[in-house]
């Protein structure tokens, strides 16, 4: 199990029952990757319109991901390793401005 804090903003809260912060224990046999976390999140935490969160095997284009306040593009994207105690932030850029 990997303890992860998941934060949602930019309108994604609506897909997670209006929750902004979630604490989750994600089951993992080995190293947890961002790809696995996204899939687990979709299956276990999203309460509606999962297609607005996930597309294919990744987040929908337009959703930013930060791992411990760092752009996941610097961490290996889907292969980024998620450690115990990490904070992963999902921000939608698709809402109005």
């Amino acid at each position: 199990m990997v303890a992860v804090t998941i934060e949602l903003s930019g309108g994604l809260e609506a897909l997670f029952g209006e929750q902004k912060t979630l604490k989750a224990n994600v089951p993992s046999s080995g190293q947890l990757t961002a790809s696995q976390l996204i899939k687990w999140t979709r299956d276990n935490l999203v309460v509606e319109r999962a297609d607005l969160f996930v597309q294919g095997n990744s987040v929908r284009p337009g959703i930013l991901v930060l791992i411990n306040d760092t752009d996941w593009e610097l961490c290996g994207l889907l292969n980024a390793e998620i450690e115990d105690g990490d904070t992963v932030v999902f921000i939608s850029t698709l809402h109005g401005g």
């Binding site: 930019g10 752009d71 610097l74």
Partner: protein
């Protein structure tokens, strides 16, 4: 795995910039982000020293970051701009009321005066009431058309020279694609312009035209800016068009695609045939708002609402069928004279924020006079304006505006909304009434609103009191001093505005701008029958005055 910043080589990189693929730390990212916007502003010359700029703010990410960055750059690079926040209250419970709370906090955070214009005041209907009539299918049509006008009207009330919006590079790229897909060549030719507004009373500028959405969101997130991101209750997830998704997918595959799409849009050379199809700007015969049709879209939609046929403007039954004298089913009939006109004050500006100090104001006026010199890096012109008449000020300002917008044929008097309610037009705002300092002074007396409490309003009122400006358009029997001739009053104001005015005093200044001479609008805004009395003077009918006052929301 985590590399150091490509710029400072010290801090840990926090993000990868989509535009350049650089990996930057937070501090270097802020700096790069802000300076690129500064560069865009300088290169494209979208602002001129001394201008009043209304920043259209919704409380969302783009406009919140825009207000933050413009405020910061205005100070850092001494743009000499007078900034305002301008919000539209559509009247959507559970959505806009919350986002307006954000905007009000922004007003305090950035010390920029805020003006909120509401659909209810402008049109007599809230979106909640409109949706009750028409359901949630075409409601966005109403909202979009009304919002566009509302922003313009709010900006005119602020006497702004320009409206700045938070449209970003992703938005522009998406628009290019949409226009291409639709084969809309005239719009394709215009949509990448950083200054638009051919069909609006005021120019609109997009300082974020080259700024990626990802960077705006990252900036807001890292800086913990206070913004609002709940979906509109009537159109949840409405912005998920195929073009939007496509742009995001292109960005994922190759981030520069967004800039390249914009470059493509900029590079199109549209042939003469397409140019001919550009709409000729005219004015709505009912509300005088700039329109390529005899009756503007907002008036058509409103006529439908007020006559109980809300789908009139939506169902492509374009045109202006006379409906007799429709009575708005949902709208309150307009009372003769409001008992407390000032009760509809929406400005939450503090007097300090709303009014520049006299030294600041003098500098603003000088710079304004100095030019039409666009902002440029390091340019800080300071030629004296002593001795020049306000007429010159206004003429130059107006001429610059007209030249900028290549709208010589259109009315530039900003007199966008005088109208006669009895003609079936929308409930009106006469901006001249709005800006009448004598009326404002009287309103302060009767409303019990103290000068300290009423912000912009107070500065206008105090100007009125000190200048002794006479009422314009005043031929009813309220206790307001009336001038012998409205035109004489206008001339007074022109002269008064020449004699050491303050920018907060832009209200009388604005009045004089309304009619700086025959070059203004060729009298078209006086042309309506109800505005011409027997003696040839220009006055509104009392009906128009009443309707204007009822709707007044300064």
């Amino acid at each position: 795995m985590k590399r150091p910043c490509d710029h400072c080589h010290k801090e840990r990189a926090a993000l990868k910039r989509p535009k350049t693929s650089e990996q930057l730390c937070k501090a270097c990212f802020y700096s790069a982000f802000e300076e690129e916007v500064h560069e865009t502003i300088c290169k494209t010359k979208i602002f001129r020293r001394g201008e009043a700029v209304a920043i259209g703010v919704s409380g969302g990410k783009d406009s919140t970051v825009l207000a933050h960055v413009l405020s910061l750059l205005n100070q850092r690079h001494d743009y000499g701009l007078q900034l305002f926040l301008l919000s539209v209250d559509e009247g959507i419970t559970g959505y806009r009321d919350h986002s307006l709370d954000t905007v009000r906090r922004n007003e305090q955070q950035y010390s920029i005066p805020l003006k909120i214009v509401s659909y209810k005041d402008l049109y007599g209907w809230t979106m909640d009431e409109i949706v009750k009539q028409i359901g949630t299918k075409s409601n966005c049509t109403f909202c979009g058309v009304f919002r566009r006008q509302a922003l313009d009207r709010g900006a005119v009330l602020l006497n702004a020279d320009k409206i700045a919006t938070g449209h970003n590079a992703d938005d522009v790229a998406e628009t290019v694609l949409l226009n291409l897909i639709r084969g809309d060549l005239p719009r394709l030719a215009r949509c990448t312009n950083i200054i638009t507004g051919e069909d609006s009373p005021l120019p609109r500028v997009k300082p974020f035209k080259y700024t990626y959405e990802k960077e705006i969101v990252m900036y807001a997130y890292f800086k913990r800016l206070d913004y609002f991101s709940t979906e509109c209750v009537y159109a949840p997830f409405a912005a998920r068009g195929a073009a939007r998704d496509f742009v995001k997918q292109l960005e994922q595959a190759r981030p520069r695609a967004i800039l390249d799409l914009i470059t493509s849009g900029e590079s199109f050379r549209i042939g003469d045939t397409a140019q001919l199809k550009l709409p000729t700007p005219g004015n709505c015969t009912r509300c005088n708002y700039i329109s390529s049709q005899p009756v503007c879209k907002a008036c058509v939609l409103l006529e439908g609402l007020n006559s109980g046929q809300p789908r009139l403007g939506v169902a492509r039954s374009r045109g202006s069928k006379k409906k007799g004298n429709p009575t708005p089913p949902g709208a309150t009939p307009l009372p003769a004279v409001p008992s407390h006109p000032a009760s509809s004050i929406h400005s939450t500006s503090s007097p300090e924020a709303a009014t520049l100090s006299s030294s600041e104001k003098h500098s603003t006026d000088c710079e304004l006079h100095a030019g039409s010199a666009p902002l440029d890096q390091g340019v800080n012109s300071a030629s004296s304006c002593r001795g020049s008449s306000s007429n010159n000020h206004n003429s130059q300002k107006l001429a610059a505006l007209q030249q900028d917008r290549r709208l010589e044929s259109a009315c530039s008097c900003r007199h966008g909304a005088c109208r006669d309610q009895q003609n079936g037009g929308m409930p009106g705002i006469d901006f001249r009434e709005q800006l009448d300092p004598a009326w404002l002074a009287a309103a302060v007396e009767t409303s019990g609103v103290s000068a300290e409490e009423s912000g912009v309003f107070a500065s206008a009122a105090s100007m009125a009191q000190t200048s002794g400006a006479a009422a314009l358009h005043r031929n009813d029997n309220r206790h307001v001093p009336a001038s012998s001739s409205p035109d004489a009053a206008e001339r007074n104001l022109v002269q008064q505005s020449a004699a050491g005015k303050e920018r907060g005093a832009s209200l009388p200044d604005a009045m004089s701008m309304l009619h700086v001479g025959d070059g203004c609008c060729n009298g078209s805004c006086r042309g309506a029958a109800h505005h011409r009395s027997d003696d040839g003077q220009t006055r509104p009918s009392s009906t128009a005055v009443n309707s204007c006052l009822t709707q007044l929301s300064l």
